[in-house]
């Protein structure tokens, strides 16, 4: 608990809370027409009282677009990480628990997938499937799976060797029962920390994919798309790049800080270091 209350923990938690509230609330609070209304009379206006974050090349208010962009980011990142958990958790548990030939061949496949840079894998999958919002989730989710299943396998190996698992087995518990009651609940803490960190990476990946035009498509408000659109106006309207850029940075920074703190809390080896 002390670690959560450290400056790092407080800043991280606040940033993540603000992001989450905005991401969940924005679609209800911001009328859609505000983000799509094109008004060429006020195009590329710098930030001012009338235009808090300035306007983009079509005269749309960046403040509304950046708020709704949080929603897009959160939905994609959370679903992508959830997808990689749904595939990676059973894969890692089976591999780590049963070992032998199953483990060997599964991990060979995982190692092969790890040779592909995550972003390359996600971009390729998205390009092959056709870039749109659901496929962006699918692409990032699949690209993350090898990492998560590696971690799940490692944790499973550690927990499966503990005496209480042997005790359960000697009492005649089935493999399924041991996995369900003893392995999965005890590997969840590190897996959840990894998932938190993965959400930060997923937000970056979504931004990169959309920036390259192979993620979410216009007119969906997305931070990566906003940065992409700003490229042609960098000389005259730097804020069109800086506003969404800072939004991505603040969110990912918050998640990373929270991830660091959670890792310190949950990892007992850190304590002996002090």
């Amino acid at each position: 608990m002390r670690a959560i209350l450290s400056p790092k923990g407080i800043i991280g938690l606040s940033l993540v809370t603000v992001f989450t509230l905005v991401a969940i609330g924005a679609p209800f609070l911001v009328p859609e027409e505000l983000t799509t209304k094109i008004n060429v009379l006020v195009r590329l206006k710098p930030p001012s009282i009338e235009h808090p974050f300035g306007t983009d090349q079509l005269g749309r208010e960046l403040v509304w677009r950046v708020l709704l962009g949080a929603h897009t980011s959160l939905v994609i990142a959370v679903l992508a990480v959830a997808l990689s958990l749904v595939i990676g958790l059973p894969l890692g548990v089976v591999s780590g628990y049963f070992g032998g030939w199953t483990d060997h061949s599964l991990m060979r496949l995982v190692d092969t997938l790890l040779s592909f840079p995550v972003l390359l894998l996600a971009l390729t999958i998205s390009a092959v499937l056709g870039p749109n919002l659901p496929n962006t989730i699918l692409a990032i989710g699949i690209a993350f799976t090898p990492y998560l299943s590696r971690i799940v396998r490692g944790e499973t190996l550690r927990v499966a060797a503990l005496p209480y698992v042997e005790a359960a087995r000697s009492q005649g518990a089935s493999n399924w029962r041991i996995i369900r009651l003893h392995i999965v609940p005890n590997i969840m803490a590190p897996v959840i920390v990894q998932a938190t960190i993965s959400i930060a990476f997923a937000i970056l990946a979504e931004a990169a994919l959309s920036f390259l035009g192979l993620g979410t498509q216009p007119p969906t408000p997305s931070w990566g798309l906003m940065i992409q659109a700003s490229r042609d106006y960098l000389d005259v309207a730097a804020w069109t790049a800086l506003v969404p850029g800072i939004a991505v940075a603040a969110t990912v920074l918050g998640l990373n800080m929270l991830g660091d703190v959670l890792r310190d809390v949950l990892d007992p080896t850190i304590m002996t270091e002090r």
């Binding site: 040779s115 840079p117 390259l212 940075a249």
Partner: protein
């Protein structure tokens, strides 16, 4: 030697698996290659013609065999977009990318190691807060955002370096270097951040060990303790991580090279993806994954040279 032989065999096996995965992504995922190339609205006769000419009606295993056979014999096919042999196309681009990747690795190591050492030595003091803060910011900011900030500041603001383009180092080395510097910096920043954190924690671990106390007790100066004894013991995991992070760099070059219009492997792969140039996608994805594999292998082998304990396993 048997260690090297085993690693080489494993490398060959993984290379084969990489080719299978690369092929699978473009052929097994729902999504028809011919339709991907021509678009969903295209004329069925033209689609059938294209399928026939690309050999898409053959069984998958035959198609895979043809592709991998071509790769092995040096015939990598022709790019649909550029109408040029793919092997030659990739050959030119790999050197351009190698230049910024190596440069960014050097930038990252040269900044991360001093920053990490300072953070560890002044643990929990302002130097540590500053160092760790820089590292956290480096991890959290997307590299293309760094790229845009660099373009705005260094290129547009100060006018020191070009913001776009590539120059061949054999023709004009200085110009090539100037073109490579900004993309390499943008690429290296997040790696620098990772390595700073690694150096810090590795240094903290070593500084807490008994032999460091012995060094201090026998009256060695602070510099000698930190650099000659602690850093030497802390550096090998950092170098390993740097090598392993090469994969990450090769993912980022796609974004960075596109942002800076730097025509290397990442740029080429991006063009292939945008233009649905399937033969070029397959070859470039395969080459990038193979380069990452090779880099990891080299790191592993180098590691056994730096740290003889590893070989005993």
């Amino acid at each position: 030697m048997s260690y090297l032989a085993r690693r080489a065999a494993l490398f060959a096996l993984t290379l084969l698996l990489i080719s299978v995965v690369t092929f699978a992504i473009t052929h097994v995922l729902p999504g028809d290659v011919a339709m991907m190339i021509m678009g969903t609205q295209s004329n069925p006769t033209a689609l059938a013609g294209l399928r026939e000419s690309l050999g898409l009606n053959d069984p998958l295993i035959v198609q895979y065999g043809r592709w991998i056979g071509g790769m092995l014999s040096g015939d990598w096919g022709v790019s649909l977009r550029y109408k040029e042999p793919i092997a030659a196309l990739i050959g030119q681009k790999v050197t351009a990318s190698a230049m910024i990747v190596v440069l960014s690795l050097l930038i990252a190591l040269a900044t991360a190691i001093p920053l990490g050492v300072v953070s560890a030595v002044y643990r929990d003091r302002w130097q540590d807060t500053a160092g760790s803060g820089i590292a956290l910011a480096g991890i959290s900011l997307p590299d293309f955002f760094w790229g845009i900030v660099l373009i705005l500041l260094i290129s547009r603001g100060l006018g020191w370096l070009p913001s776009s383009g590539y120059a061949s180092p054999t023709e004009d080395f200085w110009l090539a270097f100037r073109h490579a510097l900004l993309p390499a910096t943008a690429l290296g920043l997040s790696l620098m951040a990772h390595l700073t954190r690694m150096t810090r924690s590795a240094m903290l671990e070593v500084l807490g060990q008994d032999f460091i106390r012995v060094c201090r007790a026998k009256g060695l100066g602070r510099g000698a303790v930190v650099f000659r004894h602690a850093l030497r013991n802390a550096i090998s995991p950092v170098v390993t991580v740097a090598g392993l992070q090469l994969g990450y760099l090769f993912g980022s070059i796609i974004v960075i090279e596109s942002l800076f219009n730097y025509t290397g492997m990442g740029w080429l792969t991006y063009q292939a993806l945008l233009n649905r140039d399937v033969p070029l996608i397959q070859s470039s994805v395969f080459v990038i994954a193979a380069v990452v594999m090779l880099a990891n292998l080299v790191v592993d082998v180098l590691y056994t040279l730096i740290d003889p304990r590893v070989r005993l396993e």
